[in-house]
C-alpha cells in the first residue's frame, strides 16, 4: 500500500516535470491546459490510475490456465457480476489509499485547478466510479481471453503498454492531433481515465461525458457477459 502510494507520487512528480517543460516550450498553454490544469490532470490521473486499476493482476486468467476456474464457475452466481462487486469493493479501499493521497499531495504542493462549481465534485466521483466499471470490464475481457488463448500474457502485456496512451494517462487526449482525438473519443478508452479528469477540470460538456461513459460501461459489460457465456459453453476446462 505504502509502496504503491510512493510509486504513484514519484511518477506524478516525473510527469509534472515533463509536462511543465512541454508547457514552457509552448509558451505556457497547450489545448486548454495551463500549468494549474496540467498539475491537476497529473495528480488526479495518478490517483485514478490505482482507483480504476487500469492494469490488473491477471489472476482470473491464471485461474483459467490452471483450471481452478471450475471453482468460480460452479458457484450460484454470475461470475462477471460477482467479480465486478469485488472490484467495486476494492475501489472503496483504493479511494482512500490510492486516489486521495496523490490528489491531496498535488492540491497542497502545486498550483491546482479546483472545480469551478461545487456540483462537479459529486459528478467527478460518479464519473470515476463509471470509469472503474469500464476498466473492470476491459480487464475482465483481457483475462477471459485465456479461455481461448490459454496463455493471454501477450494480450495482457499489449493492453498494459497501450492503455496509458489510449486512455489519456501519458498525455491528455487533448494534446493529440485532431483526427486522433476524434477517433479516440469514439472508443471506450478515454472513458476509463480522461473522462473523469475532464469532469473534474470542467473540460467539455459534463452530461455528454457521463452519457458517453455510461454507454461504454454498459457495452463492455454486455460484451463480457456474452463472451463468458460462449467460453463456458464451448471451452474446455483445463486439468484433471
Amino acid at each position: 500500500m505504502l509502496a504503491g502510494m510512493t510509486t504513484n507520487v514519484v511518477f506524478g512528480l516525473l510527469r509534472v516535470a515533463v509536462l511543465a517543460a512541454a508547457l514552457k516550450a509552448a509558451n505556457g498553454e497547450i489545448a486548454e491546459y495551463d500549468i494549474a490544469a496540467t498539475n491537476t490532470y497529473v495528480w488526479i490521473g495518478q490517483g485514478l490510475l490505482g482507483f480504476v486499476l487500469l492494469w490488473g493482476n491477471n489472476e482470473l486468467a491464471e485461474r483459467v490456465r490452471s483450471g481452478d476456474v471450475v471453482v468460480d464457475l460452479y458457484r450460484p452466481w454470475h461470475l462477471q457480476g460477482a467479480l465486478l462487486a469485488e472490484d467495486v469493493g476494492r475501489g472503496g479501499y483504493a479511494f482512500l489509499v490510492r486516489l486521495a493521497p496523490p490528489a491531496v499531495f498535488g492540491m497542497l504542493l502545486f498550483p491546482f485547478q479546483f472545480p469551478a462549481h461545487a456540483y462537479q465534485w459529486p459528478l467527478f466521483l460518479m464519473s470515476a466510479v463509471i470509469a472503474l466499471v469500464s476498466s473492470f470490464g476491459i480487464r475482465f475481457l483481457v483475462e477471459i481471453s485465456s479461455f481461448w488463448l490459454i496463455d493471454n500474457r501477450g494480450l495482457y502485456g499489449f493492453w498494459n503498454v497501450t492503455s496509458g496512451l489510449l486512455c489519456g494517462l501519458t498525455v491528455p487526449i487533448a494534446f493529440f492531433p485532431e483526427w486522433a482525438r476524434e477517433v479516440l473519443w469514439l472508443t471506450p478508452f478515454p472513458a476509463m481515465l480522461q473522462a473523469p479528469i475532464d469532469v473534474f477540470l470542467g473540460h467539455g460538456n459534463v452530461v455528454k461525458l457521463l452519457l458517453y461513459q455510461l454507454f461504454w460501461a454498459a457495452a463492455i459489460l454486455a460484451v463480457g457477459h456474452f463472451v463468458l457465456q460462449r467460453a463456458v459453453r464451448k471451452v474446455v476446462v483445463q486439468g484433471g
Binding site: D68, V70, V71, R75, W77, H78, V232, R233, V236, G240
Partner: protein
C-alpha cells in the same frame, strides 16, 4: 437424484509437430448411462484418464456434453448451472474453494452470502461441521496456513453450508494421512446415513469405497465396466476366496475336496488355500480343515478391491479383443 443417458464428451487435442498443428479427437466419455437414487453413496473409480473428472464436470454443469442427457436433482446441469449449484455441493480434492488469504470463518461467511443461507441455518450447520470435524481451533487461521488435512475439512464444511442434496467429491482424500482420511470418511458416512445426503465420489483410494460406498461404478476408456454392490462385483470377478491357516506344527496342507493349496510359508507352518465361494462356505471348510490338522489360527481373506478392479479391466480388454 442423478440420471445419465448415453453421455458422450469429445475433446480436440492439439498435437504439434514442428510448425504444423493437427487436432485429433479424443473421446473422454463414451456412452455412459447410470442412475443414482437419493440417499445412495456411490464410488466412481477408474484409472487416470478414464473419464471420471470429465463426467463430474458435466454433472456439475461446468462442461457441456457432446451428446447425451443428464438430469441432476431434476435439472439439466449445463443449462441451469446456477440453479443446480444451490442444490449440490462439490469438493475438488486438488482445488480449493476457500479464500486463500482469509481466515476459514470468513470464507464460510462469504459462502453464506453467496448461497443466501439464513443466519439460523448457517449457525446450526456450521456448528455441526465444526464439532464433528474438529475445526474449532482452525476457524480463525488464514487458509494458506492450514495443513492439507485441516483445509480439506474446511472444504467439506464449505460444500455443506447450503445443505446440498447431493455432494460430489472428486478425490477428497488425496494426499491425506491415514488419520485424516479416516476422520473424513467417518464424517461423510455420517452425513450420508443420518442426513441422507447423496454421495458421489471419485477416488484412487479403495479404502474410501470399502468404508463409504455400498455401490461401486468402474469406468475405463470412457465406458462403465461394472456397476453394482462391491460384494457382488467381488463375487463375480473373483470367485475364489482365500483361507489362511497357521498350524501348530509344520506339516503338509490339509487335503479337502474343492480346495486348492496355493502356497505354504514358514516351512509348512502357514498355508494359503483357495476355494470357490459358490461351492463351499468358509464355515464348512473350516470344520473339515480342523478335523485333519491342528490349527493355531486362521483367517478368511477377501480379495483386495484393487484385484477386483484390475480383473475388471482385464476382462474388458479380453472382451474387446474378441469382438
Amino acid at each position: 437424484m442423478i440420471e445419465v443417458r448415453e453421455l458422450r464428451r469429445e475433446f480436440k487435442i492439439a498435437t504439434s509437430k514442428g510448425l504444423r498443428r493437427n487436432y485429433k479427437t479424443v473421446t473422454a466419455v463414451d456412452g455412459v448411462t447410470f442412475d443414482v437414487a437419493a440417499g445412495e453413496a456411490v464410488g466412481y473409480v477408474g484409472p487416470n484418464g478414464a473419464g471420471k473428472s470429465t463426467t463430474i464436470k458435466m454433472l456439475t454443469g461446468i462442461l457441456v456434453p457432446t451428446s447425451g442427457d443428464i438430469r441432476v436433482s431434476g435439472v439439466d446441469p449445463s443449462k441451469q448451472r446456477r440453479d443446480l449449484a444451490k442444490r449440490i455441493g462439490v469438493v475438488f480434492g486438488q482445488r480449493s474453494q476457500l479464500w486463500w488469504d482469509l481466515p476459514l470463518k470468513d470464507s464460510f461467511d462469504l459462502l453464506k452470502s453467496i448461497y443466501r443461507v439464513s443466519s439460523q441455518d448457517y449457525r446450526t450447520r456450521l456448528d455441526e461441521c465444526v464439532e464433528l470435524l474438529g475445526l474449532e481451533e482452525t476457524l480463525l487461521t488464514p487458509v494458506r496456513q492450514l495443513s492439507l488435512g485441516q483445509r480439506m475439512r474446511g472444504e467439506i464444511t464449505a460444500a455443506l453450508l447450503h445443505a446440498p442434496e447431493l455432494l460430489v467429491l472428486d478425490e477428497p482424500t488425496i494426499g491425506l494421512d491415514l488419520e485424516s482420511k479416516e476422520r473424513l470418511r467417518e464424517f461423510l458416512k455420517d452425513i450420508n446415513t443420518r442426513r441422507g445426503t447423496t454421495l458421489l465420489l471419485t477416488t484412487h483410494d479403495l479404502d474410501d469405497i470399502e468404508r463409504l460406498c455400498p455401490r461401486l461404478m468402474v469406468i475405463d476408456h470412457g465406458r462403465v465396466l461394472a456397476d453394482g454392490p462391491l460384494d457382488e462385483l467381488r463375487a463375480e470377478v473373483t470367485p475364489d476366496r482365500e483361507l489362511v491357516i497357521d498350524l501348530r506344527e509344520p506339516g503338509p496342507a490339509p487335503d479337502v475336496p474343492g480346495v486348492t493349496a496355493v502356497r505354504s510359508e514358514a516351512n509348512g507352518l502357514r498355508h494359503h488355500l483357495t476355494f470357490r465361494r459358490a461351492e463351499t462356505t468358509a464355515a464348512q471348510l473350516i470344520t473339515q480343515v480342523v478335523r485333519q490338522v491342528e490349527v493355531h489360527d486362521l483367517a478368511v481373506v477377501e480379495p483386495e478391491i484393487d484385484d477386483v478392479i484390475r480383473k475388471l479391466y482385464q476382462r474388458q480388454v479380453a472382451q474387446d479383443a474378441h469382438r
